[in-house]
C-alpha cells in the first residue's frame, strides 16, 4: 500500500537561539505534518515558538540572530533544513507563500502596490500583467487605480489583501500565514479569514495559520497544534480539540478568555487557585460621578493645510458612583480621545465635563485635588514607566507630588495589593514582565485613592493568560475600594466581563448605550449586531 506523501512533514524540529538571557530553546522537538489542501493551525502564546518554527523552516530567521536548527522538514520530498539559501530562495515565493502580521510594515513604503505584486510575479517566473488577476482574486480589482497606490494610502484590510496577492503570485502549494489578522479590526479580520478560506478551496492550497487567537483557529483550521514553550502540547482535529481538550493547558487557554455568556465573576487563570472572590457591592448609589455632555475633540490635521480631524463628534453619557462603564469601539472610534480629554492630555474643542457635579473648566490645568480623584491607566506597559526609576520611586511619586506622607510600609502595601511584593522595590521596569509592569501602573494609580479609574485598553498588549490575571486583579480592587470604573477596549468579551453598562462607539459617536446584558444579547444597531455576530461564529 502506497503511503500518500504529506506535503510537509516536520520531524523533531529544534531551534536554539542565543538571546540576552542565555541559550534559549525557542522550538524544542516539534513534529507535525500538513497534507495537501488542509489547513493546520499553530496555536500558542508569546514565546511558544509558533512563529519561530515557521521562520526556521523557510530560512527567514532575522539576519542578526544566531540560531541552531536541527531536525528534518520534508517539503514535497526535499528536506528544507538541508537546503542552501539559493535553493530555499527558489522555493519561497513559488512553492511556499508567506503572509505576515502587520501589513503596514510588511510592504515597501516607497513602491506602488502594483509594482510590488508584479515584482513577486516576475520573481516566480509568471507572465506580465498577472498582477491584475491576482488583485481580482483578493477582491481588490474593483478599487479604482489600486495598483498605482502606495501602501500608506490603503486601509489595513486592503494592505493585507495585497500581501496575500503577493504570497499567491507563484501559485504556491503551501501558504504560511503568521498572525495574519492580529493587527486588524474585528470586522475586517472576519472578511480576511473568509477570503483565505475561499482562496484555499479554489486553489486546493494547504495553509498553516499561526495564531494566538482560538476564535481565528476555530473559523478556518482543519487541524490544530497547541504549542507551549516550544513544544507541542496537544494535536488534533480543531473541533475535537476545542470541544474536548485533553490537556490542562489547552483547557486553561480556552477558559482564560471571557466568553459572551459569561456570568463568572472571576476568570480561571493558569495559576495557583485564587483567593475567594470578594463580592461587589450590589447596591449602587445614584450619585453621578462623571457627566459628559456633548463632548467634542479634534486633532490638527497632518500636513500644513489639512483640515482638523474630528475624533469625537459630540458624546454624552454619565457614570454613576460604583459602576463600571465600558466604552467599546474599534481603533479610531474616538474612545481614547474621550479619556484623554477627561484627564487633560487633550483639550476638548467643545462640550462639558462634570466631575462630582462640578464643571471642569480646563482639564489641562486641573486642580490638584481633582487630579487625585481621577486616575488614568495607560495601555502600553512598556512605555508607561520611566525606565530609570525603581519601583519604589515609581509608586512613591504620585504621593510625593501631592504631598501625601508615605513610607516604605505604605509602598509595600500598594505593591502587595497588586500582587507584587517587597522584593520588587528596587527593581527597574525593564526587569519586569509586561503583566508585572501593568500591575505597577495600577499600583501607582491607586496610590492617591482615586474615586474614578479610567482604564484605556490596559490589557490589549498582554497575552491571554496574563490578561486574565490582570482583569481579576482589577475586579478585586474595584470591589475592595469601591471604585468607579471607565473601561475602554475594543475587545467585546473583556468589556462584557468587566462592566455593568456598555457604550458602543463608532466614528466619534456613541451609537448605543445600555446595560451589559441588553447590549450583548439584544444589540439594537446594525453595527453592534454585526460585531456580536462575528464573535458568536
Amino acid at each position: 500500500m502506497t503511503e500518500s506523501m504529506s506535503l510537509l512533514r516536520v520531524e523533531s524540529l529544534r531551534v536554539a537561539i542565543q538571546a540576552q538571557t542565555g541559550l534559549v530553546e525557542a522550538v524544542a522537538d516539534l513534529s507535525f505534518t500538513v497534507e495537501p489542501g488542509e489547513t493546520l493551525a499553530l496555536v500558542g502564546e508569546t514565546g511558544s515558538g509558533k512563529s519561530m518554527s515557521m521562520l526556521a523552516l523557510t530560512g527567514l530567521i532575522p539576519v542578526g540572530v544566531a540560531a541552531t536548527i536541527t531536525g528534518r522538514a520534508m517539503f514535497e520530498g526535499r528536506d528544507l533544513l538541508c537546503m542552501s539559501e539559493t535553493q530555499l530562495r527558489a522555493l519561497r515565493g513559488r512553492r511556499i507563500g508567506m503572509v505576515f502580521q502587520d501589513p503596514a510594515q510588511a510592504l515597501n513604503p516607497l513602491m506602488t502596490v502594483g509594482r510590488q505584486i508584479a515584482e513577486a510575479v516576475a520573481a516566480a517566473g509568471g507572465p506580465k500583467g498577472r498582477e491584475i488577476q491576482l488583485l481580482d482574486e483578493v477582491e481588490l480589482g474593483a478599487v479604482p487605480g489600486i495598483s498605482r497606490r502606495y501602501p500608506h494610502q490603503l486601509s489595513g484590510g486592503q494592505q493585507q489583501r495585497v500581501m496575500i496577492a503577493i504570497a499567491l503570485a507563484g501559485d504556491p502549494s503551501l501558504l504560511i500565514a503568521d498572525e495574519p489578522t492580529t493587527a486588524l479590526d474585528v470586522a475586517v479580520e472576519a472578511r480576511i479569514l473568509d477570503l483565505l478560506a475561499r482562496l484555499k478551496a479554489r486553489r486546493s492550497m494547504a495553509m498553516i495559520i499561526v495564531s494566538h487567537d482560538l476564535g481565528v483557529v476555530k473559523r478556518i483550521a482543519d487541524r490544530m497544534i497547541v504549542l507551549r514553550n516550544g513544544r507541542a502540547v496537544e494535536v488534533g482535529d480543531t473541533t475535537a480539540v476545542l470541544t474536548t481538550p485533553k490537556t490542562a493547558y489547552t483547557r486553561a487557554l480556552m477558559a482564560c478568555r471571557p466568553t459572551l455568556a459569561d456570568s463568572v465573576a472571576r476568570l480561571p487563570t493558569l495559576g495557583v487557585p485564587s483567593p475567594p472572590i470578594i463580592e461587589k457591592r450590589a447596591i449602587q448609589s445614584s450619585r453621578v460621578l462623571l457627566g459628559i455632555h456633548d463632548l467634542q475633540v479634534s486633532y490638527p490635521g497632518v500636513g500644513t493645510l489639512a483640515k482638523p480631524v474630528r475624533a469625537v463628534k459630540g458624546v454624552s453619557f454619565e457614570i454613576r458612583e460604583g459602576e463600571a462603564l465600558g466604552i467599546l469601539g474599534e481603533s479610531g472610534s474616538g474612545k481614547s480621545s474621550i479619556a484623554r480629554s477627561i484627564v487633560g492630555l487633550v483639550r476638548p474643542s467643545a462640550g462639558e465635563i462634570r466631575f462630582d457635579g462640578a464643571l471642569l473648566p480646563d482639564t489641562a490645568r486641573l486642580d490638584r485635588s481633582l487630579r487625585r480623584r481621577i486616575q488614568y491607566i495607560f495601555q502600553d506597559p512598556f512605555g508607561a514607566l520611566n525606565p530609570r526609576l525603581t519601583l519604589a520611586q515609581l509608586v512613591h511619586e504620585p504621593m510625593l507630588i501631592h504631598g501625601v506622607p508615605a513610607n516604605e510600609t505604605t509602598i509595600i502595601g500598594l505593591l502587595e495589593e497588586v500582587g507584587l511584593n517587597a522584593g520588587h522595590l528596587s527593581r527597574l521596569p525593564r526587569e519586569l514582565s509586561g503583566g508585572q509592569r501593568q500591575r505597577v501602573t495600577i499600583a501607582r494609580a491607586l496610590a492617591l485613592e482615586p474615586e474614578l479609574l479610567i482604564c484605556d485598553e490596559i490589557v490589549s498588549a498582554l497575552d491571554v493568560s496574563v490578561q486574565a490575571q490582570v482583569l481579576n486583579l482589577l475586579k478585586d480592587i474595584q470591589a475592595r475600594r469601591s471604585l468607579t470604573l471607565m473601561f475602554i477596549s475594543h475587545d467585546i468579551p473583556v468589556v462584557g466581563h468587566m462592566c455593568d453598562r456598555i457604550a458602543v462607539m463608532q466614528d466619534g459617536l456613541i451609537i448605543e448605550i445600555g446595560a451589559r446584558d441588553c447590549i450583548i444579547q439584544q444589540p439594537t444597531t446594525a453595527y453592534s449586531r454585526e460585531m456580536i455576530a462575528l464573535l458568536k461564529r
Binding site: 542578526g64 519561497r92 510594515q105 510592504l107 515597501n108 515584482e119 500608506h152 504570497a167 500644513t304
Partner: protein, 309 residues
C-alpha cells in the same frame, strides 16, 4: 490633488521663508562681527606704506569707515539690494570680479571631490550589502573609519609631504587630483558611514522580510528595496554634505596653496578687507542654505508618504 499640492507648497513656502530669514541673519552677523575685529583696512595699508595719521584719517573718511556702524550697515544693505557688492578695499577692484576669478577653481575642486565622494560613498556600501562576505565590506568599513579618524586637514598636509618630498612626482602646489582625491575619500567616508548604518537598520525591517519571502535575489533586494529607503534618509543630509564639501574644499585650498575661495578669504580676513570678506561669507552661507532648501524640497517630492497624504 490640488489640495495636496497646496499643502506641499505651503510647507515649501514656510521653508523658503525660514531660509530667507537665516540669510538675512547671516548678512547682519557677518557685518557686525567683522567690524568687531580690531584694526581696519587702513591700518593694513598703513603698515605697508607708512601713512601719516592725517593721511589715514582722510583715507578712512573717503572709504566711509568713519560713519557709525548702523549707517554703514544701511549703506551696505542698499548696495546689496541693488546687486552691487562693492569694491575690495584692498585692491579697489569689484568684489564680484575677485570672487569670480577664483570661483571656478573652487567649484572644480568641490565638484570633483563630490563626484568621487558620491561614487565611492554609495557604491561601496551597496556592493558591501550585495556581497556580504567580500572585500567590499572591508573596504567600506575602512573608508568609514578613515573619514572619522583622519581630519582632511592632516591628510592633506601628509599628502603634500608624501608627494612633494618622497615621490617628487607631482608639484604639491596647484594640482587638482591630490586634494580632490583626499577630499573625495573623506566625503565618501561620511556618506558611506550614514548609508551603511541606515541600510543595516532597514535590513531588519518587516518589508525586507517580505522581499525575502518573495524569493528575490540579494541584488534586487538591496537595489530596489533597501537602497531607496536608505536614500530618503540620506537625502536629508545633502545640505550637511554640501557644507562639508565647501569646508573641505577651503581647507584643501589652504593646505595645498591652491588659488580659490579659501585662500582668497584668508587673505581678505588678514587684510581686513571688509567688503570682500562679507561678500564671500554671505555667498557661502547662502549657497549652503540653498542646498538645504533643495534637499528639503526634494525630500517632499521623493517620499510618497509626504507627497500624498
Amino acid at each position: 490633488m490640488m489640495a495636496q499640492l497646496r499643502g506641499i507648497s505651503l510647507g515649501i513656502a514656510a521653508e523658503v521663508l525660514r531660509s530667507f530669514a537665516i540669510a538675512v541673519g547671516i548678512v547682519v552677523l557677518t557685518f557686525f562681527l567683522l567690524r568687531m575685529i580690531p584694526g581696519d583696512v587702513v591700518d593694513v595699508i598703513g603698515l605697508e606704506g607708512a601713512l601719516t595719521y592725517e593721511q589715514q584719517a582722510n583715507l578712512r573718511a573717503e572709504m566711509g569707515l568713519t560713519r557709525s556702524w548702523g549707517e554703514q550697515f544701511w549703506l551696505w544693505l542698499g548696495m546689496i539690494a541693488g546687486g552691487d557688492f562693492g569694491l575690495s578695499s584692498r585692491f579697489a577692484i569689484p568684489v564680484t570680479q575677485l570672487i569670480g576669478a577664483v570661483l571656478g577653481s573652487t567649484i572644480t575642486l568641490g565638484l570633483s571631490a563630490l563626484t568621487i565622494g558620491i561614487c565611492l560613498g554609495i557604491g561601496l556600501p551597496v556592493l558591501a550589502a550585495i556581497y556580504p562576505r567580500s572585500a567590499f565590506v572591508w573596504l567600506a568599513e575602512a573608508i568609514t573609519i578613515w573619514s572619522i579618524t583622519v581630519p582632511t586637514f592632516s591628510t592633506g598636509i601628509a599628502a603634500v609631504v608624501v608627494f612633494a618630498v618622497w615621490l617628487g612626482m607631482i608639484p604639491a602646489i596647484g594640482n587638482l587630483s591630490a586634494p580632490a582625491l583626499i577630499l573625495g575619500i573623506d566625503i565618501a567616508g561620511s556618506i558611506a558611514k550614514i548609508l551603511r548604518e541606515d541600510m543595516k537598520e532597514i535590513e531588519s525591517a518587516d518589508f525586507i522580510r517580505t522581499a525575502r519571502a518573495k524569493g528575490l535575489s540579494r541584488t534586487r533586494i538591496v537595489l530596489a528595496h533597501i537602497l531607496p529607503n536608505a536614500m530618503t534618509v540620506t537625502l536629508a543630509l545633502v545640505g550637511l554634505i554640501f557644507s562639508n564639501v565647501l569646508t573641505g574644499a577651503i581647507t584643501m585650498e589652504i593646505v595645498f596653496g591652491r588659488p580659490g575661495i579659501g585662500t582668497l578669504a584668508l587673505q581678505a580676513i588678514k587684510g581686513r578687507d571688509y567688503p570682500l570678506v562679507q561678500t564671500i561669507i554671505i555667498w557661502l552661507g547662502i549657497a549652503v542654505i540653498i542646498a538645504n532648501l533643495v534637499a528639503d524640497i526634494a525630500q517632499r517630492f521623493v517620499d510618497p508618504r509626504i507627497r500624498l497624504r
